[in-house]
Symmetry: C2
Subunit: 335 residues, 2 copies
């Protein structure tokens, strides 16, 4: 594996931030063209269906991935590139990130449904991976003009000026009665099959457990402070790094959905482990999630309380979530 | 009732927009003070719990309402003022808006839980009501720097420059297979009682019907394109006016949560009716929601298709939602 100096890493970080800004601008240009009805000449069409937008969105998605891939390959020809669009067209679902090659893992457009409807929480997600670990993350949501970025050892940032988490003097501890008092982010996702005990029903059962009053749901009621769904795994992770979300729980994501978000969240002091509860949630070790595992439970950065360290508080919250959620059924060859 | 000329209405509109910007800035100042840990001197406290934030939030909420109330009463001493904070402290839950007095209906902070956690979708909501009807609406979400505003006859706007809905050349029609293809916004709310057939379970049953595959849920599956929860009724309405949300369905809101949003959505071309399905959803008249009814179903602005007008498409979607949702149990004296 090539040695990358601290100076070189800083240079790659600056490049990645600029790339995120440029790619986000391309996404926003595509959106603005639709405001005016010019993207596909639809201003000439008397009657429009929003479904027509899907082709335009796919074109933008592919164009932005090409732009990112070409920018990277001309600047860093030895680096590997894994992108959502190119990957999706291949037949394999293998995990392609290894520990030998510096690798870029990119989703040109996370929150595709949002982008189709011009719902503001869509973004570009760019991660740089060394030794199998995301060390640089850049997320830019152009409609919201929110840029999240991090580099190992250099902190995590909102718009390059506000260090994450937002509240940091001191960083709040995990509430004593968590998940009560927490913001819980979750997504309904694409698997909507109405099968008994299928993913949709397991998810919803978990959501209700987290939301219901304390004492409800045969003792599983978590009475979270709020349930939020933004339609983007990447934005969920970014908001967890801000400290705005306390818990994000999801299955079915791919590595390009989460690599940059995990880099930013971990650099901010957050924790990412598996969504699926172990046999004994009270005692099992809280391991880092594998990047390609498709099952993620993220906890915001946390400071210490009088009785526990920040990490102890985070692990306590992990266990409280594990006690309330169902295992989800998402597979991955080779993981 | 005093006659208000078009010029006077324009003057009130400008005043309301500036008031929204100023009030939103106060909210953001309160948030930023917490970034630095200075709002309550908490930088001196070694261990912080997020719950401590609640007092600060209440103080800001009350301070912003006072600022708005005083600004209005010094500029328009004859106008009535109904604010969330002052109202909530009273014993009555009566509907206080009448058709004789020009009235301001204000929520200084919608999305209180979001503000507590610094989750970005919080906002100030200001409506001006004539003859019982919201004719001016101003919503400002300072973290996102999104300002929504409208005045009857003058259009609805994002940040004063982008007319709503965002896509308007032409405005998309309602999808043929709606609610399939739609973004559905809904909130879990505060009533988390785990009672059989209580509001929580009726809501979740409705959410699942809207989300499940076509053919699922004994034919009720709506296969919406996405389910979103932002934790603010006001922001849900604003995003519906943008066209980013197709359907918002909710019970339990109060008039200050929705008055400005309804003004903006209707001026953009949207429709607001009751959340609760009538006896025959297929044939019942689609009536405008009463402002104080606490039950709302909002549909985005829609253009015509080859086979129906925009309004016909909206009513079709209303009926498709009514067929899939449960009636919610929220009461209101005098409505």
């Amino acid at each position: 594996m090539p040695v990358i100096s601290d100076d070189q890493l800083g240079e790659i970080y600056s490049f990645a931030v600029q790339l995120g800004k440029d790619a986000g601008k391309l996404l926003m240009d595509g959106a603005k063209a639709r405001f005016a009805g010019t993207a596909d000449g639809s201003s000439d069409i008397a009657f429009a269906e929003k479904d027509n937008a899907v082709d335009i969105v796919t074109q933008t998605d592919e164009a932005v991935e090409s732009f990112i891939q070409q920018s990277i390959s001309s600047r860093y020809p030895d680096h590997k590139f894994i992108g959502e669009e190119t990957y999706s067209k291949g037949a394999s679902r293998d995990y392609l990130i290894d520990s030998t090659t510096p690798t870029w893992c990119v989703d040109p457009l996370d929150g595709t449904v949002n982008y189709t409807h011009l719902f503001p929480t869509f973004c570009v997600s760019i991660a740089f991976i060394l030794d199998g670990r995301p060390v640089i993350g850049v997320i830019y949501a152009p409609f919201l003009d929110q840029l999240f970025s991090s580099c190992e050892g250099r902190g995590a940032w909102l718009n390059e000026t506000q260090q994450l988490p937002l509240i940091r003097s001191p960083i709040p501890s995990i509430p004593v009665k968590a998940p009560s008092g927490c913001i819980f982010a979750c997504e309904w996702g694409k698997d909507r099959r109405d099968r008994p005990d299928g993913n949709l029903h397991r998810k919803v059962e978990s959501f209700i457990n987290m939301a219901a009053e304390i004492g409800g749901r045969q003792g599983k009621g978590g009475m979270v402070h709020g349930v939020r769904s933004l339609g983007s795994a990447t934005m969920d992770l970014a908001y967890t790094a801000m400290g705005s979300v306390d818990v994000w729980w999801e299955g079915g994501c791919w590595e390009w959905d989460v690599a940059a978000g995990i880099a930013i969240l971990k650099e901010a002091g957050g924790l990412v482990t598996s969504a699926n509860p172990p046999e004994d949630p009270s005692t099992a070790e809280v391991l880092d999630a594998s990047l390609g595992s498709r099952l993620y439970l993220a906890i915001r950065p946390a400071g210490p309380s009088h009785s526990e360290t920040g990490r102890q508080g985070q692990e306590r919250l992990v266990r409280e979530v594990w006690k309330r959620v169902r295992a989800l059924d998402y597979e991955r060859p080779g993981i």
